[in-house]
Amino acid sequence: MRWGWFLLATAILVLLPLVTDTLTPTILLIWALFALSLGMMWGYAGLLSFGHAAYFGLGAYTYAIAVVNIGESTVPLLLAMLVPTIFAAVVGAMMFYGRISDVYMGVITLVVTLILFKFMSATAGDAYVIGKARLGGFNGIPGFQTLNVPGYPEISLFGVPTYYVCVASLLICYLICRWILARSFGRVLVGIRENEARCELMGYNVPALKTAIFTVCAAMAGLAGCLFANWAEIVTPRVFSLGQAAEVLIWVIVGGLGTLVGPILGAMALGYVKLLLGEQTVIDNSLILGALLIIVVLGIPRGVVPSLQRLWSAGSRRARRRPGDSGSRRTLGASVRERP
């Protein structure tokens, strides 16, 4: 049954270019991938990164800088995943081996993003050049080569082919997440989310596992950033901005923690709303986003998809409890006690 949904979604995504143009669906897929990477980490391992945009932005910048220097997109694409991976490994190891969690982890991840934002915004001028790429400060790096067929730099992709690259990236990352969760690694991650001390007592190396999932999710965010750079054809420090960091959190929490579909649908739905509203309208964009976030946190703290799942299973009277995670979702938000 679950594979049925997956195949149906795949079919819809593959056939979509027949009925509509691909510019909007492409960016929605990229945002969905970005949200998936955070949803995996936050919903299953219980690691809330306030600065997940750092890895998204690093992916975008790495791709832009590398492709300007190399001129062919295969290596830059890989680098766009590798650089956030290494960066996340360093940051993650520093945090998790230092026993930093909860709000302190939020601060550190946010500060890392802010550092990147401030640094990239200040790189205007001739001094800031990596190879042939000028960093360009607040104006960013425009006009680099988009993705091309591996080995053939002259055949670059845009429009429908880029859309299919994004579809493939999202589906592959979704399958990787499912695969991780089906393995003991995924089970232990859920265990760490529920009771870290107990997992440690059972002999698991909690800091190493946390660093590992942090790194994997950073790589996915980097890939999303790389695709975003391709879609926008410009990279600016805005990819590191507080707004970008906030938006992905909102997508994930509205869609639902503890599911993989939730963040994807949340990102697509809210991303579409954002595109409809545009930047300049009568009712300000952030007003609606903010109200939505408050309403969701107060009203449906588990997010839309998990709440619907519960309604569904309660309504059909088939109390098919999925082993493992279904009973534990409700404790997610409440797992931080008021006083230590």
Binding site: M94, G98, I100, V103, D284, S286, L287, L289, G290, E338
Partner: protein
């Protein structure tokens, strides 16, 4: 010699700036363990209140020192009653809800005041320090911060309300078993924190032009100052403000203002790594 004076004053100003903008956040975090991510927007609201009052002919000192804290305090009260009170004990949810609130406030202010920068002239004129021209208003901010810190310390230390407040910081269960309603204490705390943020916004309004998104400039610095300081309000905020303010300005003078900010942020990461409970978690333990 004059140059050394300039550097010292700039460091003092930066420390005052950090302490002033963090005070409201520190009170809310220290007592309620709520990270108010709408704090920057409270500061921004204080600034807008001051400017609106000034444009309507109200004395600027009265506007920034009285009207701004009262108005923002009321906003804080409304926010606590409608949002925060449902979320006590759920720290991550509070952070998300207040983040939503910050976006909401940005949107509302944009709707009302528009997306253009507004400003108000500084009411204190500059002065000459040796061969350097200094902004006199910076001195005013330093004085306000010193006064504010002393008042906060005295209230927490010597008044009955301060005693209850400190009790609520250290053990809410004990305070409630003594007959004080912790929810009421939290309500007053949040209101007081918001009012302090409004005061900071009002006082800082003449320095920088205001935009609806100005809150973002305060929240990150206030956030790291408070978390690095730890749970104790006065000593924590002051100690981390001193550390960050000094590092920021010294590096700014030595290299570049942007490098100064980067150094401050990097230092925050290092300090948190070394002292996960904040500076006061390690060195001061008296709870103020």
């Amino acid at each position: 010699m004059d140059y050394a004076g300039v550097v010292c004053l700039e460091i003092l100003y930066m420390i005052a700036f950090l302490a002033l903008t963090s005070a409201g956040l520190a009170i809310v975090f220290g007592m309620m363990r709520v990270i108010n991510l709408a704090h920057g927007e409270f500061v921004m609201l204080g600034g807008y209140t001051t400017i609106a009052c000034y444009n309507n002919g109200i004395n600027i000192y009265f506007a920034m020192l009285v009207v701004a804290p009262v108005v923002v305090g009321l906003v804080g009260l409304i926010v606590e009653r409608t949002i925060i009170r449902f979320l006590y004990g759920r720290m991550i949810d509070t952070m998300l809800a207040t983040w939503g609130l910050s976006l909401l406030l940005i949107g509302l202010v944009t709707l009302i005041f528009g997306n253009t920068a507004v400003s108000v002239p500084a009411p204190v004129s500059g002065y000459q320090l040796g061969e350097y021209q200094m902004g006199g208003y910076n001195l005013f901010i330093i004085l306000i911060t010193v006064a504010l810190t002393l008042v906060m310390w005295a209230v927490l230390r010597f008044t009955r309300a301060g005693l209850i407040a400190r009790g609520a910081m250290q053990g809410p269960d004990v305070v409630s078993s003594l007959g004080y309603d912790p929810r009421k204490i939290y309500m007053y705390t949040f209101t007081a924190g918001a009012a302090l943020s409004g005061l900071a916004g009002g006082v800082l309004a003449p320095l920088t032009g205001l935009l609806p998104s100005s809150g973002g400039a305060y929240i990150a610095k206030a956030f790291i100052t408070v978390i690095t300081g730890g749970a104790a309000v006065v000593s924590g905020t002051l100690s981390s403000a001193v550390v960050f303010g000094t590092v920021n300005q010294l590096v700014s003078f030595a290299a570049h203002p942007v490098i100064g900010e980067l150094a401050m942020l990097a230092l925050a990461i290092i300090l948190l790594r070394l002292m996960p409970k904040g500076i006061t978690g390690r060195f001061f333990r008296d709870g103020t």
